[in-house]
Amino acid sequence: MSEHAHGHQHDRDHARTFQRDHDDGSPLPYLQVMEIAMRELLIETGVITSDEVRRQIERMDARGHSRGARVVARAWTDPEFKARLLANGRAGCDELGITDLEALHLVVVENTEKVHNVIVCTLCSCYPKPLLGLPPAWYKSLPYRKRMVREPRAVLKEFGLELPEDVIVRIHDSTADMRYMVLPRRPEGTKGWGEEKLAAIVSRDCLIGVALPHAVKA
């Protein structure tokens, strides 16, 4: 290394003394390089600003499953709404004033005494993000995607959900343009509860189908 390059080289050496994030130091994958290049070009040419990129990331990070839970709570308290929701998931959300759903084509699948539904995307990690937020890491993992379709009862058991043999397990593989949300059964001990209180017991996992809601004792 030449003397005049010392300053830059020094910075790089210095950077190496810090612990890396969760990457292993190997070269960035092709698509990640392309993403960075595209983003930097768009910012450089003034098409978008770095502040807009940051705000969008923050918006996505902040989105949780609360809107999905609200939809479920309404369906539990209003049978006519439930019927409309099951016929057209998107229209049901519109009724609740949930309009920021981008191009979401939503299919709501109802758990009954006889049927339990579970969502998976075996090809990648399709998930109703506008309604449920970002998917958990396990949803995107290869073991979940491979095993949930092949041995769902064993996987559900690992999640702590053991279903009786006479309950049909219905897997929904989200392979193309539709996105899915499970409408769980309203649990015992919630009679007279308002929508807000009901929504609070509907967890993200209930909406994927790997858990059941329970009435929390006051």
């Binding site: 084509h105 299919v107 075996t122 090809l123 379709v149 092949r150 041995e151 769902p152 009862r153 064993a154 043999e165 006479d166 309950v167 049909i168 397990v169 219905r170 897997i171 929904h172 593989d173 989200s174 392979t175 193309a176 343009d177 539709m178």
Partner: protein, 100 residues
């Protein structure tokens, strides 16, 4: 575009293995299922993946398969199912088995 199948029709998934971006999972190719519903018409992802417009749009179905038919060693209940979205060009009408 008029859809070729209706809810309740029995269909076979083509047992084809072309290269490219295919949204029909391997595990369901060659299997027999029943149309659960017509989802509407969507741009063809096999074309979209290569930067083309994916037009004309193609009918997309949700097809229900019996798990014991899909996996010969399936350990769950006989009525367990898997529902999968499949584009029309991957489906063929199930031909009745010839009487012997």
């Amino acid at each position: 575009m008029k859809s070729r199948f209706r809810a309740g029709d029995t269909v076979n998934v083509r047992a084809a293995y072309p290269p490219g971006h295919i949204r029909t999972p391997y595990y369901i190719r060659g299997k027999r299922g029943v149309i659960e519903r017509i989802c509407g018409e969507f741009a063809n992802p096999e074309e979209l993946a290569f930067g083309r417009d994916g037009l004309p749009k193609r009918p997309l179905y949700r097809v229900r398969f019996g798990q014991q038919h899909v996996w010969s060693d399936y350990g769950g209940a006989p009525e367990d199912t898997v529902d999968i979205e499949i584009f029309e060009h991957w489906l063929e009408p199930a031909v009745k088995e010839a009487a012997t």
